[in-house]
Structures are given as structure tokens and as C-alpha cells.
Point group: C2
Chain length 194, copies 2
DNA sequence: AAAAATGTGTCAACCTTGCTGACCAAACAG
DNA sequence: CTGTTTGGTCAGCAAGGTTGACACATTTTT
């Protein structure tokens, strides 16, 4: 994913949508008010984006942290604990607090690595997949509504801006996530579930 | 509200891809992948978006909750405690824990309302404005980078999608925030700082 | 073979920021 | 006067982060 060469200082390109303001689009573009609006949008948007899953999770005695584990393990079956830590950006102890119950309750499976037997390769059990899918469905409908209302051009713009909001590390991790399922060796040897 | 049975003994009763046609399946897969990407983007993007202020706040012994108060009070000088509670979507007690120290440390000013003297109209002190500005600058640069890289069309799209991700309540609140500052009566009568 | 580094697990303590329930006081509205 | 609204506060609980220290198996290096 190379950097897209879109014009930021070229005055020729106007947003396709008629904003209420007509004057000096260019000047307005970087005005303080626009950036404060971005803060608001991210706060409200992210909060409501996570509200659906949160409610469901609460009924199961889980939280957002569990969802994140289910999500990223589902996205990368066979991921190691270390890789997951890198993606989540939390400490080993924090992860343990959510991962251990997930393994004990048969949502996540741990298998010892084949090439390196110190590793614990994580994957979702059928039960875990079912829950992840339920959680996903909630967000899927929510996001689809937003996508439909906004239109495809807006969606592409949304993605570009969100990528820009990510740091270099996160971008690298996202690329790996988008990659075509790498080592493929989830169901390995010894199972280590409690 | 779908109350979910915990016992998911049956592995994913319905295959998520209901369409029997190959092409349809592919389309559905792409759609799902797109939506999962949205999840990733929001997770990474929001995390890195808040990382800058978080670091600064930590040095002052504050957290994200303090920032939110500073942000919304700065956005709406003269806001009442009740309105702020509505925007943040937290309980009075949770707000008190961050608001009280902010008032005691002279970041936020409380003035009794003119029309209703039970109300405490909140506004930023110069000290509070200075801190809010520092926090804002960090996010401003971060967002500006993303906006510049993405371009104006993408930014407009981003805004549309983020609005779509908000619930009806949040949209109404955002509209009020974007409005031209209505009551305008911040520096009222009695000061109530500790 | 011995030593070092790596991957993972775990105990213990602490912080922030949500939550609930209960109760109080001031001010407004009838 | 009575009742409601707005706000403050005390006390306790939980989730989910943090750090530090240590244990253990395994792999790599010397």
C-alpha cells in the first residue's frame, strides 16, 4: 500500500458533497473547527460503534477486551501470544486476564507450536467462532448502515483517513492482518486447554 | 433484544454464507472482509488518535476522562453539569471524580446559573484553556497529517461515515455542539471554585 | 555441556474510570 | 408548604489497564 498521491494543497479539487459553507473551501479545510469536529466524531462514533457488542458481552460477563481477542484470533488463526500482544498493545498480564478465561470456557484453543514448541498458537473453537460471529453481526449491521448512508466514495475516504490516523506500527500490523493467511498451521500437536 | 444462550454446543448452526452461488459467495466474502477491515481501522485508528494526549495527561496525573471534560467544556463554555453528563454518557459520580479535581486545580470554573441558580455553568479557566490547547495541538497535528495524506474528498467521506456510525442521540448532541454557541452566559455571578 | 535468550504463565499490587445505591442541600414550581 | 429538579458526595464494586518479580520449558549461542 503505497502512499496515495492525493492533492492536499491543490485548490482544484472540491469535496463532492455540498457542505453548508461555500466560501474558501481550502482555508476551511484545515481550520481549527474542522479538527475539533474530528475529535467529536471520533468520540461519538467509536463509542456507538462499540455499544452493540458491549451489551451482548456484558450478558456473558465479558468486556470489550474479550471481544478484541476473539476478533484478532479469528482474523489470524494460529497467531502466537506474542503477536497478539503486539497487535493489542497491552501487557502480557492484561492479556492473560482475558485470555485465560476464554481458554477455560472453551472459546479459544491453545496448541503448542510445531516449529517452536514454546509458542502457544491460538485459534477459535467452534464455540468461539459462534460468539465472534454474533458480535461481528452487530457491528456489521451498524457499519453497513453507515456505509450505505454515506456511499462508496465516502467509504473509501473514511478508510484513507483512518489509515492516516494510525501510527507506523499499526499500519504494519494492519497490513499483516490483511495479508492472505500466512503460516497456516493452527491445529497443531498438543492441546493445552484447562 | 436478543438474549443469547450461552451453550453454543452446535457449531455455527447456519453457515454464514447462505448464498449457494459461487459468485454470490465471493461477493459476500468481500463484503465481510471489508467490514472486518472497518473494525480493524477503528480499533487502531482510535487508539493511535488518543495516544498523544494520553501521554501528556499521564504526566499530569490525569486520564482520558479529564481530557473529555476539558474538550467539551471548551467547546461549550457555560455548559451545565447535566448537559455534560448527557454528552459524555456517564454517571454523575463518574463525572464528579474528574470534574472536582479539575475545579480544585483551577482548570475549570463553576459559575452559578443566572436563570436557574441550581445550575453550575462550567467554563475553562485560562489555565484550563492552556492545557486543553496543548492536548488539542497534539491531536491537531496527528489529524492534519491524516487529512493531508487522504485529501479533502476523503475527509468529507470520513465525516459522513463517522456520522453514520453515531446513534441518533449522539447526532443530536453533535448538532448542538456544532451550533453557534447558544446561551452565551459563561461568566455569570457567583464563582464556586474550591 | 553450559549458559543465555526467548516465549509464556503467574502472583501481587496499584491506578483509572466506569457502575450502583443512598442520602443531602439548594432552588425552583405548584 | 410540598414536591421535583439539579447537583454534590460517601461508600463499595468491577473491568481492564499498569509495573515488578519470578518460574519454567525450550531454543539458541557460546
Amino acid at each position: 500500500m503505497p502512499a496515495m498521491p492525493d492533492q492536499t494543497d491543490k485548490p482544484g479539487a472540491e469535496p463532492q458533497v455540498g457542505a453548508p459553507v461555500g466560501a474558501g473551501r481550502n482555508l476551511l479545510f484545515l481550520r481549527e473547527e474542522e479538527l475539533r469536529l474530528a475529535q467529536d466524531l471520533l468520540f461519538f462514533g467509536y463509542r456507538d460503534f462499540t455499544a452493540g457488542p458491549d451489551k451482548l458481552l456484558a450478558e456473558l460477563g465479558m468486556g470489550r477486551a474479550h471481544h478484541r481477542v476473539l476478533h484478532f484470533v479469528g482474523r489470524r488463526p494460529g497467531i502466537t501470544v506474542g503477536e497478539l500482544l503486539g497487535i493489542l498493545g497491552i501487557t502480557k498480564q492484561s492479556l492473560a486476564r482475558v485470555l485465560t478465561p476464554l481458554v477455560e470456557q472453551d472459546y479459544v484453543l491453545q496448541a503448542t507450536g510445531r516449529s517452536d514448541r514454546r509458542q502457544r498458537l491460538l485459534s477459535l473453537t467452534p464455540k468461539g467462532e459462534a460468539l465472534e460471529r454474533q458480535l461481528f453481526e452487530r457491528q456489521r449491521e451498524w457499519v453497513m448502515r453507515a456505509y450505505r448512508e454515506a456511499g462508496p466514495v465516502a467509504v473509501e475516504g473514511f478508510r484513507r483517513v483512518m489509515r492516516g490516523l494510525m501510527g507506523a506500527e499499526a499500519r504494519a500490523q494492519l497490513e499483516r492482518l490483511e495479508a492472505p493467511a500466512p503460516p497456516r498451521a493452527a491445529a497443531a500437536s498438543l492441546v493445552r486447554a484447562g
